[in-house]
Amino acid sequence: MREVNAKKITEAIKKLCLEANYDLSEDVLEALNKALKQEESEIGRNILREIMKNAEIAKKKKLPLCQDTGLAIVFVEIGSEVRIIGGNLQEAVNEGISQGYKNLRKSVVSDPLKRVNTQDNTPAIIHTEIVPGEKIKIGLLPKGGGAENASELKMFLPTASKEEIMDFVVDLINRKGVNACPPLIVGVGMGGSFDSVGYLAKKALIRPMGKHHSRAEIADLEREMLKRINATGLGPMGLGGKITALAVHIEVAPCHIASLPVAVNLECHSHRYKETVL
């Protein structure tokens, strides 16, 4: 049994908070660059240039890419051969968030109705999975409120067609996509249950940009959905253009014979995901 001190987890989380908020990943920059070449609207191209210039400044001056430094979504894959010593996972993660967010915006309230700021951006949303092995993989996704608010979940009839699901996604983009800061990354979860499909959609977001689903028919659906989303004409920041989304990522899971849950989790262009392995 490998032992990992909880302090290591705290340190790793703190580091990820800063990396994610200051340093836009290469795959996102590449996708933006590609979008700039395809965008026909002059205003749209200017917005894309601003976004890329912003990433340059943020990295150089160590300034947050976006003022909404997000609710921290933490993905932890724990090897079954690992034992955490000197503390527990949840406390270690939240301590890392608290330290990492010292100079970032605190965007968490302790209660949905009383709405008192917790002052240190905790608690994080922590998703854990037990996997074989003796490593711990930690991923951090600071999730902005605008894009999260524009996300939806729908329980379809099991007999629903691909087209009906596609219509739901495109209609959502038309209704709410602008507020999610396009060009978007669209995470779609299909299958599972009411609770798990949201997680599936979120997991879809952290797939590296430019990668399609391993199953050809799902990959085709991703391409088709992206084409339809970009045909809406919303464009960068919704001010008109050809590039409304940079990518569509779909994840699927087995489900009940009576159900077909679909969740759409929207992500802004400021897609700040970083991971590390302990």
Binding site: E40, S41, I43, N46, I47, E50, I51, K53, N54, A55, I57, A58, K61, K62, L63, P64, L65, C66, Q67, D68, T69, N103, L104, R105, K106, S107, R115, N117, Q119, G144, G145, G146, N149, V178, N179, C181, A231, T232, G233, L234, G235, P236, M237, G238, L239, G240, G241, K242, C268, H269, S270
Partner: protein, 166 residues
């Protein structure tokens, strides 16, 4: 790029059309959800409200403007002349923007490090206890924005979408 200086006058607004890219210099009043709910007390005549909540290091960018729609019309009645945010407004606010002669500017969301470079001064003027949601006065030089709704009924969200939809 058109250069404009705050405070805004009806005369200045006549020249602004949806789709114009502008650089704003002068004072902006920063406020978002919690401050609107409590009520914005500082005078807004001729002013521009910037819907934002900065980070402690000063990164600042627009938040979704439609969340502030329910609070906006009384502010326009009191002489508010400009708003900076992201995303479209509801029908009532759009109509009121025409009626009371004001402009709604869209700024690029998620470009907060870039926009921070235009901020020369910042001061909390109300509701300090709200932390990132406090009301601020900031001085900006050449803050980049795009006219989304003008006083002539122009609507860049609608026109832009129509132009590029296929």
């Amino acid at each position: 790029m058109k250069k404009i200086k705050t405070p805004l006058t009806d005369e200045m607004l006549k020249d602004l059309k949806a789709g114009d890219q502008v650089l704003i210099t002068g004072c902006l009043i920063v406020a978002r959800d919690a401050a609107h709910k409590r009520g914005i007390k500082i005078p807004l005549e001729g002013q521009i409200l910037f819907y934002a909540g900065p980070t402690p290091q000063g990164s600042i960018g627009p938040t979704t403007a439609s969340r502030l729609d329910p609070f906006t019309i009384p502010l326009l009645e009191k002489g508010l002349k400009g708003m900076i945010g992201k995303g479209p407004r509801n029908r009532e606010v759009r109509d009121a923007i025409g009626k009371y002669k004001a402009v709604y500017f869209a700024a690029t969301g998620g470009a907060a490090a870039l926009l921070a470079q235009t901020v020369k001064k910042a001061k909390v003027v109300d509701y300090a206890d709200l932390g990132p949601e406090a009301v601020l006065k900031i001085e900006v030089v050449d803050f980049p924005a795009i006219v989304a709704y003008d006083i002539h009924g122009g609507d860049l969200f609608e026109e832009g979408k129509k132009k590029y939809a296929t």
